[in-house]
Amino acid sequence: MTDQASLLLKKQLKELTKRPVDGFSAGLADDVNLFEWNVTIMGPPDTLYEGGFFNALLSFPNDYPQSPPTCRFTSEMWHPNVYTDGRVCISILHNPGDDPHGYEVASERWSPVHTVETIMISIISMLSSPNDESPANIDAAKQWRDDREGFKRKVARIVRKSQEML
């Protein structure tokens, strides 16, 4: 399994370095470990996060691509679907096995055909449209719903912070 995972990750890394995708950049966190990636996500244009550069850590399991990686923001983040410790909560990063509703939403769950690229695209789309139905950060979700101005101010602050960190 590990062999397959390393091969696949190596292949994807090569592909991403050769042909970078708009919106994020990716590289190994530690040159000898293929299973830990550092990614930098550019705040998508026309959203509250525009202009920000957010760092995140992607950790792949040994049985990748059968199981999904986890993604954790290392930059400060304020978003209804990101836990206060930075962990990203989106459905495609969930194992299909722990889906209590069966196959109905299987298409939104993890599948081995997902790649770093598709994961990052999902995270970027999460930034532009938060889902406050199943929030990971309840305070952020509440503010997003009830106090949009306050939410905007808070996000503007973390965007500025992320620029200063560069």
Binding site: M1, Q4, L7, L8, K11, D63, P65, Q66, S67, I92, N95, P96, G97, D98, D99, G102, Y103, A106, S107, E108, R109, S111, P112, V113, H114
Partner: protein, 646 residues
């Protein structure tokens, strides 16, 4: 749809089949079944793992033929419809497209030529198309990636049975054939296990036998209702099809559930604490007063206080009328301050005692049932052989002893549950005005008592009396000699005297088994019909009740005289004496069975026999198929009359 020849060795047990008959008509004890007592038909089949697979295959074949679909598709459709073939037909023909869509059946897509390479969508390596696999949607992935995908899903649990194509936007179902083709033997086995389990667990008519280690399932042969239905698996364990608890007829599932929760709940401890302790006024720990004086000091916080008024001992001097004259309590009680509290305490004490009463009886019968079960096994293993030598009778003719044990086991079980029933049916305090309720309680307890008395008697005869008899036989000189190595040498031509004693005992036990069975049948019937109706019914037939009340006295006297014969005195003289006492007990048992059968049970008798399709001679135990004949075809014994001497 059912081909009987396929299921020859699955038997259909109806509750009235107390003595399962084998095909040649020879009655015999079948260790796989316990006699069951009930009036309602409970038709079911016990299926082994092999038979289950056969059934599953049969359902698949049927669906495949009717809908002309592949096996993989049939599995999906059946699973979706909870393995109900009728429902499959209904849903399929109502809206085929919607159903296909819902469960992910897609039309087979054309596969390209195998002689070209394509990239696997998971590992991005190039493979010959012919080496790749795909669900009917034809989204190909390499074998290695399929394997990983399938294995991960199998490890994830039974949800693998609804596995879809790995492509997120494709909902095509992955057929079982593909799963088995790419998985290794260990995972494949697990997959098949899930598939079989789905057949049983999703199917409303099938339930696993809950006994540990038993892999059989029980199939209900009729529409499943939410009512209690006792079934007996081939492994010998009985359980309720509806609630999976142990068999508990005639009590309903709800009562059993409540009772079991109550038995395990901590609430009874709390009740005890409430009834027997008071909290320390300072640290609030419960204190049980175990010494006489009212001056308490808490063992935990050393607080000193008065047990009566719970006030600190310091302010308990002259002001309250002396240290040991706590009139504060009296005046407070007069004002009504403590009434609610002490009432609650008193109430808790009473209800705890009441619960203990029922629980002890429930638990004792439960224990007695286990003991009877092991005694039955012991009798089967050892005792029958010893006995068969003593009385020169083949063990096959001694099955009636096992029947008696089986009856004891079954009756203990029923009796046990009637205590749970009694606990819930009749409240803590039935007010005197509620005569109907009082009457019902009295009636229930009378019947319970009757049934219990016969059961005790039967238990005594099959256990103690039989042992005594064997002891007696052992002591009789000349007929059998115990060799130094423990083996018994027996003169096959046993004395006529012994044969007479033996046949008396045999008849007594058979009669008693039957009478006990009848009493429990009656008890079960009554509880299932409901007490209200029954009271109305019986109030029209007062004589029957009176008659039933007379017989216990007769039997208990007989028992007293019967068991009063000490086994040690059974010397040369003893046979005569014990014979006499046995005759008297025989007579009493005859009388008991007569009056019971003749009056209150005759109707139940005929009903049972009609349902079973035979009647059993109470003397020689032969099965009579002619329901209209009044005398036994074997020994000419009158069907309902007193058992005549042989």
């Amino acid at each position: 749809m059912e081909d009987d020849s396929d299921y020859e060795d699955s038997y259909v047990a109806s509750d009235v089949e107390d003595y399962p008959t084998s095909e040649d008509g020879d009655y015999g004890y079948d260790p796989q079944t316990e006699p069951e007592i009930s009036m309602r038909r409970a038709a079911y089949t016990v299926l082994s793992e092999e038979e289950l697979k056969l059934r599953q295959q049969e359902a698949l074949q049927q669906v495949m033929q009717v809908l002309s679909i592949s096996e993989g598709e049939a599995v999906r459709v059946l699973r979706h419809c909870k393995w109900d073939v009728n429902r499959v037909n209904e849903e399929w023909f109502a809206d085929t497209e919607a159903l296909r869509d819902k469960i992910g059946l897609v039309d087979e897509q054309p596969t390209g030529s195998g002689r070209r390479k394509e990239s696997c969508g998971i590992c991005f390596d190039e493979f010959w198309v012919s080496e790749m696999h795909a669900a009917p949607c034809n989204h190909s992935f390499c074998r290695g990636c399929w394997k990983g995908y399938v294995h991960t899903a199998i490890s994830g649990g039974p949800a693998v049975l609804s596995l879809r194509c790995p492509l997120p936007d494709c909902s095509a179902a992955v057929p079982a054939a593909l799963v088995t083709a790419v998985s290794d033997p260990k995972h494949r086995e697990k997959y098949h296990l899930y598939s079989l389990r789905s057949f049983v667990e999703d199917n409303q008519r099938l339930e696993w036998c809950p006994a540990p280690g038993c892999e059989n399932a029980v199939e209900a042969l009729h529409e499943v209702s939410n009512e209690a239905m006792d079934v007996t698996c081939r492994c010998g364990s009985s359980f309720c099809f509806n609630c999976k608890e142990e068999a508990h007829r005639p009590v309903d599932c709800e009562t059993v559930k409540k009772w079991i929760i109550k038995n395990s709940a901590e609430s009874e401890n709390l009740n005890w604490i409430l009834a027997n302790t008071k909290p320390c006024p300072k640290c609030k720990r419960p204190i049980e007063k175990n010494q006489g004086c009212m001056h308490m000091s808490c063992s935990q916080c050393k607080h000193e206080f008065c047990w009566l008024c719970l006030a600190s001992w310091q302010e308990h001097g002259e002001r309250t009328g002396g240290f040991y004259n706590c009139n504060k309590y009296e005046s407070a009680k007069k004002r009504g301050d403590y009434d609610a509290e002490s009432l609650k305490r008193e109430h808790a004490r009473v209800s705890l005692q009441r619960y203990m009463h029922y629980y002890q009886r429930w638990a004792e019968n439960d224990r007695a049932r286990s003991q009877a079960l092991s005694s039955k096994a012991e009798a089967n293993d050892k005792k029958l052989e010893v006995l068969s030598e003593f009385v020169a009778t083949p063990t096959s003719q001694l099955k009636f002893i096992l029947d008696a044990w089986a009856q004891v086991v079954e009756c203990r079980r029923i009796l046990k549950w009637t205590y749970a029933y009694g606990y819930y049916r009749f409240g803590d305090n039935i007010p005197d005005e509620d005569t109907a309720q009082k009457q019902q309680q009295g009636f229930f307890e009378f019947n319970q008592g009757q049934a219990e008395m016969f059961l005790e008697k039967l238990n005594g005869v099959v256990e103690k009396d039989l042992d005594n008899l064997v002891e007696e036989f052992k002591r009789e000189p000349g007929l059998s000699e115990v060799a130094p190595d423990g083996s018994v040498f027996v003169d096959q031509a046993s004395s006529p005297e012994r044969q007479a004693v033996w046949s008396k005992f045999r008849e007594q036990l058979i009669g008693l088994t039957e009478v006990t069975r009848m009493h429990f049948v009656k008890l079960v019937q009554e509880l299932e019909k409901g007490l209200d109706q029954l009271l109305a019914f019986y109030s029209e037939q007062p004589e029957a009740e009176a008659e039933a009340e007379v017989e216990p006295a007769a039997v208990s006297t007989a028992e007293a005289s019967g068991s009063a014969t000490p086994a040690q005195q059974a010397t040369a003289k003893a046979p005569k004496r014990s014979k006499r006492s046995r005759i008297s007990s025989r007579a009493a048992a005859d009388k008991a069975s007569n009056s019971a059968a003749a009056f209150s049970l005759q109707e139940a008798d005929s009903e049972l026999e009609a349902e079973a399709g035979y009647w059993q001679c109470r003397r020689c135990t032969v099965i009579n198929r002619d329901l209209n004949s009044q005398s036994c075809s074997m020994c000419a014994q009158n069907r309902r009359g007193p058992i005549s001497a042989s």
